[in-house]
C-alpha cells in the first residue's frame, strides 16, 4: 500500500506544481486522470523518486520513503513506465529486459514479456532502443520492462499512447494478468474511458490538487457527463485518445 500525506512539490523555478496531495493506493487498479498539465506525471515522479517532495510524506507499506533514492525505491518494489520512454544508443531490448527482470532471466522469459505487449519477440529482442524504433514500439517496450519487474507497485504513465495497432483490450488484459501474478497495486495515468472503466478507484488531478477521488461508480459518470457537455473536463477523455 502506498500512502501520500499532504505531498507538495515546488519546482526549482519556485512554481508550485503539486500541493497538499493526500491519497492512499491499495486497490488493484487505480486510475489517475485530469487535464494536461495538471500534475499527473509529476505525481508519478514523486512516487518513483525522480523528484523529491518539497513537503509531506510518502509511505510504502508503512515505510517512510519520502527521501529515498530512485534506486532504493525500485528495490523496495516500485516500478514506473515513463510517459516519454527513453532511448539508448547501443542498449538492446534484451539488455533492458534483463536489467528489469534480473540477471537470471532466460531469453525465453524476456521474449514472453514482449509477446505480452504484442511485439514479436524475434523481431525486437535484438533491436537497439535507438531512433529506429517508433514511439509506439518504445511505449510497449516500456510496459514490458515493468511487467518484467513484477513489483508490488507499478505506475504506468499514459500507457495507451501509441498502441494504434494493438487494442485496448490487450492492454487491459496485460494489466489483469499482471495483477494475477503480482497481487500488487497498479496505478495507471490515463485519459481513456476504457481504462478508467476497469479502475477500482479514480483520482482526478487538476491544477496540482486532488480534484476528486472515489470509486469508479462515483467518479466516472461525472467525467463522462462533462465530456458530453463540452466542459473542459472532456479534454481529458477525448483529446488524448485522438493523439
Amino acid at each position: 500500500m502506498l500512502e501520500l500525506k499532504h505531498v507538495g512539490y515546488v519546482a526549482e523555478d519556485d512554481t508550485e506544481i503539486l500541493s497538499d496531495v493526500s491519497l492512499s493506493i491499495n486497490e488493484r487498479f487505480v486510475a489517475i486522470t485530469g487535464p494536461n498539465g495538471g500534475g499527473k506525471s509529476t505525481l508519478a515522479k514523486l512516487i518513483s523518486g525522480i523528484y523529491m517532495p518539497t513537503s509531506g510524506q510518502i509511505l510504502l507499506d508503512g515505510i517512510d520513503i519520502t527521501h529515498m533514492s530512485i534506486t532504493d525505491r525500485a528495490n523496495l518494489g516500485i516500478s514506473y513506465a515513463f510517459q516519454q520512454p527513453v532511448r539508448f544508443k547501443g542498449l538492446r531490448v534484451r539488455d533492458l529486459l534483463r536489467l528489469a527482470a534480473g540477471k537470471d532471466t532466460t531469453l525465453a522469459q524476456a521474449c514472453d514479456y514482449l509477446s505480452e505487449v504484442g511485439l514479436c519477440a524475434r523481431d525486437y529482442i535484438d533491436r537497439e532502443l535507438n531512433d529506429s524504433l517508433s514511439g509506439g514500439e518504445l511505449k510497449r517496450i516500456e510496459i514490458a520492462m515493468v511487467l518484467a519487474r513484477g513489483t508490488k507497485l507499478s505506475v504506468f504513465d499514459e500507457p495507451e499512447a501509441g498502441i494504434d495497432l494493438w487494442s485496448f483490450q490487450n492492454l487491459i488484459r496485460v494489466f489483469e494478468k499482471m495483477y494475477e501474478e503480482t497481487r500488487g497495486n497498479i496505478l495507471i495515468i490515463s485519459h481513456q474511458e476504457r481504462i478508467l472503466n476497469i479502475a477500482d478507484k479514480i483520482v482526478v488531478i487538476r491544477e496540482g490538487k486532488v480534484d476528486r477521488v472515489g470509486s469508479r461508480e462515483e467518479i466516472l459518470p461525472g467525467l463522462l457527463k462533462s465530456a458530453d457537455t463540452g466542459n473542459t473536463v472532456c479534454d481529458l477523455l477525448t483529446q488524448k485518445a485522438m493523439s
Partner: protein
C-alpha cells in the same frame, strides 16, 4: 606462453592459443611466430621493419592474425605492414597491439598499415589497441592507409578501450568506382589520456561510398580530438558520424569537414557531444541500478 603474453593476446586478438590459419606475432620488436597458408604468404621486409602480407586472388574464408605485443618497458617499436589483397578475395584480418608496461618508461608502438585491395575483393579488418601496467606511459600511433580498387570493399573496426595514454590515429583512404569503405571506431579515454583521430577519405570513383562512424567516451581529465574529412570527387555517397559522451572533466573537439568536388557527390556529417542524459540514468535507476551501475551500462552499451 607466460601469463602476460597470453593476456595481451587475449585482449588484442581474442586469442586463447595460437590462431588457426595465417598469423604473425611480433613481440618486443621481434618476430615471435609465423604461419602461412597456401593462399596467404607473409614475408619479412628487407628495407625496413615490418612484413608484407600477400593474399592470393580468390582466397575465401581465411583469416590472418597479426598481433603485436610489447612487455618490455622503454621500447619504441615502429613497423610497416603492407597488405596485398588479390582480386575477389574475401578474408578477415585481425591486428591489434597490446602493451604491458611495468617499468616506468615510455613504451611506444607506431604501426603503419597499408592496404591494397584488388578488384571486387572484400576484407574485414579488426584492430584493437590496449595497454596495461603501471609504467609511465603507453603510446600508440596507428596509421592505416587503404587503396580500394573497383568494386572492393573494406570494413574496419578499430577499438581503443583502455590503457593508451597518448594516441595519434590516422586513417586515409582512396576509393575507385563502386568501392565501399565502412569504418567503425570506438575510443574510451580516462585519466589524463589524450586521443587524436584523423580520417581522410577521397571518394574518387563513380558509385563509391564511405561511412565513417566514431563513438567515443571521454572520462575524467582526458581529451579527444576528432577530425574527419570526406572528399567527394565523383558521384558518390559519404557519411561520417562522431558521437561522444563526456563525463567528469572529459573534453572532446569534433572537427568534421566535407568537400564536394562533383555535383553528384552526396555527403553527410553528424556530430553529437554531450554528457549522459539524466533521463537515461533515471530510467535505469527505476530498474534498481545505482547511478554508477547505470553509467556503466550506458557506456558499455554505447561502445559495444
Amino acid at each position: 606462453m607466460d601469463e602476460i603474453r597470453m593476456n595481451l593476446l587475449k585482449e588484442v586478438a581474442d586469442l586463447d592459443a595460437l590462431p588457426v590459419g595465417a598469423y604473425n606475432i611480433r613481440e618486443n620488436g621481434k618476430a615471435a611466430g609465423r604461419n602461412t597458408t597456401a593462399n596467404i604468404d607473409i614475408v619479412t621486409k628487407q628495407d625496413k621493419p615490418g612484413i608484407d602480407i600477400i593474399i592470393a586472388p580468390g582466397t575465401k574464408k581465411e583469416s590472418v592474425h597479426i598481433p603485436v605485443i610489447i612487455s618490455q618497458t622503454g621500447l619504441t617499436d615502429l613497423v610497416y605492414n603492407d597488405f596485398y589483397i588479390g582480386e575477389d578475395a574475401d578474408v578477415v584480418i585481425i591486428a591489434g597491439c597490446g602493451i604491458h608496461n611495468c617499468g616506468g618508461e615510455l613504451s611506444q608502438h607506431d604501426g603503419i598499415h597499408t592496404f591494397w585491395l584488388g578488384k571486387n575483393s572484400h576484407i574485414r579488418y579488426v584492430e584493437k589497441h590496449y595497454g596495461e601496467g603501471d609504467g609511465s606511459k603507453n603510446v600508440m600511433n596507428p596509421t592505416t592507409i587503404v587503396h580500394l580498387d573497383e568494386g572492393a570493399s573494406m570494413e574496419m573496426e578499430t577499438t581503443q578501450i583502455a590503457g593508451i595514454d597518448d594516441t595519434d590515429r590516422r586513417t586515409e583512404g582512396d576509393l575507385k568506382a563502386g568501392a565501399k569503405l565502412e569504418v567503425r571506431e570506438k575510443i574510451l579515454t580516462n585519466g589524463v589520456q589524450n586521443a587524436k583521430t584523423y580520417f581522410n577519405v577521397d571518394l574518387n570513383g563513380e558509385g563509391c561510398s564511405a561511412n565513417v562512424v566514431s563513438r567515443s567516451v571521454a572520462r575524467e581529465n582526458s581529451t579527444q580530438f576528432f577530425d574527419s574529412r570526406l572528399n567527394g570527387n565523383a558521384p558518390c555517397a559519404g557519411h561520417s558520424e562522431c558521437d561522444s559522451i563526456i563525463m567528469e572533466n572529459g573534453r572532446v573537439t569534433a572537427c568534421p569537414s566535407l568537400t564536394a568536388n562533383n555535383i553528384d557527390a552526396s555527403l553527410i556529417h553528424e556530430a553529437a557531444i554531450g554528457k549522459i542524459a539524466g533521463e537515461q540514468l533515471m530510467k535505469l535507476m527505476t530498474l534498481g541500478l545505482t547511478e554508477k551501475e547505470a553509467e556503466e551500462q550506458i557506456v558499455n552499451g554505447f561502445l559495444k
